[in-house]
């Protein structure tokens, strides 16, 4: 089965370790992530200004091009792209005046009113594959791996575009269980990582990420699973800062959900590109016998 798929710019540069294991895993599950042929930036962040329609042009243009190809669903991997595209889509469904202005300006030859359904890959796994069916496809169960499911903001907020219960999300936890891992509940799993605030105040990165990381560690997590390259960047950088500032702080591997999926489906570490991860998961995966003792990769975490 073919799914129209929107990668996003970061997945083609810094976060290839989010994309490549996803494409390979979905193929193993009988789905083809079919990259839409002409896509541009999702807009990077949803503009909250009421009169700032120009920043809705990028996400809406992507959706129009998907509709023009005759597709009615668009799968995303990056939580930020999901958020921007889904909110712009909601605007096109609900605000007639802005919809007309945007359609007239975008000038793609067809009118758009939010017909394309924007979904996250986790939703495809939950609703189209199903957790039970997924767990049957697992070749290398992630047994004994204690992982903190970190949602951040963009999968769940605002409520109108949430992929799961806003207050008590379970989708990542169920995903981890299906792979045979042990999800570690922790109260800060939906707290903001700092998002783009760190661009204007890079010094605050440790303070943004400290409660999240400490909470996960306190509850016994050995690693954290993520869906967003910006969360990965902030938490990865935050860990390095905290290791310097806070005595006894232990850094933990940060993993994309797609890497765990590929590993559990038995696709091997090559497709996971662990070398691009912040904080190497090598020793943890070896300890849990999820990686053979001879395999090794060079992490980028050390250069940061």
């Amino acid at each position: 089965m073919s799914l129209a798929y929107y990668p996003g710019c970061t997945l083609k540069t810094r976060a290839r370790n989010l994309e490549e294991p996803a494409v390979a895993s979905m193929e193993a599950l009988g789905f083809k992530l079919d990259e839409v042929p002409r896509w541009n930036c999702c807009g990077a962040v949803y503009s909250l200004a009421d009169d700032d329609l120009i920043h809705q042009v990028a996400p809406v243009r992507n959706l129009i091009r998907v509709k023009k190809q005759g597709k009615n669903e668009l799968v995303t991997l990056c939580a930020f792209c999901l958020n921007t595209l889904k909110r712009a889509n909601l605007l096109m469904r609900q605000d007639v005046a802005k919809r007309d202005t945007l359609n007239a300006f975008i000038d793609e030859g067809i009118d758009y009113s939010g017909e394309v359904k924007v979904v996250h890959l986790l939703e495809v796994l939950r609703d189209e594959v199903g957790w039970a069916a997924l767990s049957q496809k697992v070749k290398l169960p992630l047994r004994g791996l204690k992982i903190a499911p970190y949602y951040g903001c963009t999968l769940l907020r605002p409520r109108e575009i949430a992929i799961d219960n806003v207050e008590n999300p379970t989708i990542l936890g169920e995903f981890l269980k299906a792979l045979g891992a042990s999800p570690v509940d922790f109260p800060e799993s939906t707290r903001c990582c700092g998002s783009y605030q760190v661009v204007s105040s890079p010094g605050d990165i440790a303070e943004y990420t400290r409660p999240i990381l400490n909470s996960a560690l306190k509850n016994g997590a050995e690693a954290m699973v993520l869906t967003c390259p910006l969360c990965d960047y902030n938490l990865g950088r935050g860990q390095k800062e905290l290791a310097k500032k806070q005595s006894g702080f232990r850094e933990m591997p940060l993993l994309y959900f797609t890497q765990l999926l590929a590993l559990a489906l038995g696709l091997g570490p090559q497709v996971c590109h662990f070398e691009l991860n912040h904080g190497s998961p090598e020793s943890l995966l070896k300890e849990k016998h999820l990686l053979s003792q001879v395999e090794s990769f060079q992490p980028i975490g050390g250069q940061k």
Partner: protein, 260 residues
């Protein structure tokens, strides 16, 4: 030019003059002023017919140098149209303005110090990320390039795709003149094509080997032989040479293989 030709010229012009009178005149507007122009002229020739002397913005007159970017509108149509003045023939009531040059930021770099990493383009042209996907650049391209798609490719780190999409770019700058984010697309694409050509396209191994062989003097004696050949003999050799047939396959070889 010979006197004879000069003498002949007035006669020719007289014939042309008769034709001109016969040609239908159409109104066009150059910088807002109305002119009656014979139909069938290009915008550039129409301007010269109207009395303008072009000393800049009229480069090759063959549609390849990008010096004569032009914008125009037709009455009753809000759409801005673009053309190259040397290529586009005039249409009735077109309002024309030339944009032969548009100021654009061009990064300076030491090419030898660059790599094919996407970040090289990001560093030299950080304004790349000011693109809001308005697509005005694509609409402004007289070459029909998907300019915005090529900018998206650069953002996605796909230098090869940006180079390929922008292959027909003649650097006229009309995209830049219309850009909401103040990007100089055509300079970014030039960088992309340079990186693509030098660092991404696979090297032609046979060319390297041939250059080496020439350098080592493998073909010197053939050249010497040619130098000693008399003119008549050279002509004969040229006329009787074996020509590769149009439909020759990749494995075609000449009968005489002494020089291979």
């Amino acid at each position: 030019m010979s006197t004879k030709q000069r003498k002949r010229k007035p006669a020719k012009t007289a014939v042309k003059e008769e034709k001109k009178i016969a040609a239908k005149l159409i109104p066009i507007y150059i910088m807002g002023k109305r002119y009656e122009i014979p139909e069938g002229l290009t915008i550039m020739k129409a301007m010269e017919y109207a009395g303008y002397i072009l000393i800049r913005g009229c480069g090759c007159r063959g549609g390849t140098c990008g010096a004569c970017g032009t914008v125009y509108r037709k009455p009753g149509d809000y759409k801005l149209q673009v053309a190259l003045a040397c290529q586009k023939t005039v249409e009735p009531d077109m309002y024309i303005a030339q944009i032969p040059f548009f100021p654009a930021n061009r990064a300076t770099y030491d090419f030898a110090g660059l790599t094919a990493a996407p970040e090289e383009v990001f560093k030299l042209y950080p304004e790349l990320f000011r693109c809001v996907a308005c697509n005005s650049c694509t609409k402004a391209c007289p070459q029909g390039i998907e300019v915005m798609d090529a900018i998206s490719a650069l953002k996605q780190g796909n230098i090869a795709q940006a180079a390929q999409l922008s292959f027909d770019c003649i650097q006229c700058g009309l995209c830049t003149s219309r850009c909401f984010g103040e990007l100089a697309q055509y300079h970014m694409f030039q960088l992309a094509r340079r990186i693509y050509g030098a660092m991404i396209v696979p090297r032609a191994q046979h060319l390297t080997e041939m250059v080496k062989a020439v350098g080592e003097g493998r073909y010197d004696r053939f050249l010497e032989e040619l130098k000693r050949t008399k003119e008549d003999e050279l002509k004969k050799l040229y006329e009787e040479r074996e020509v590769e047939p149009m439909a020759a396959g990749e494995d075609w070889k000449p009968k005489d293989r002494r020089y291979l």
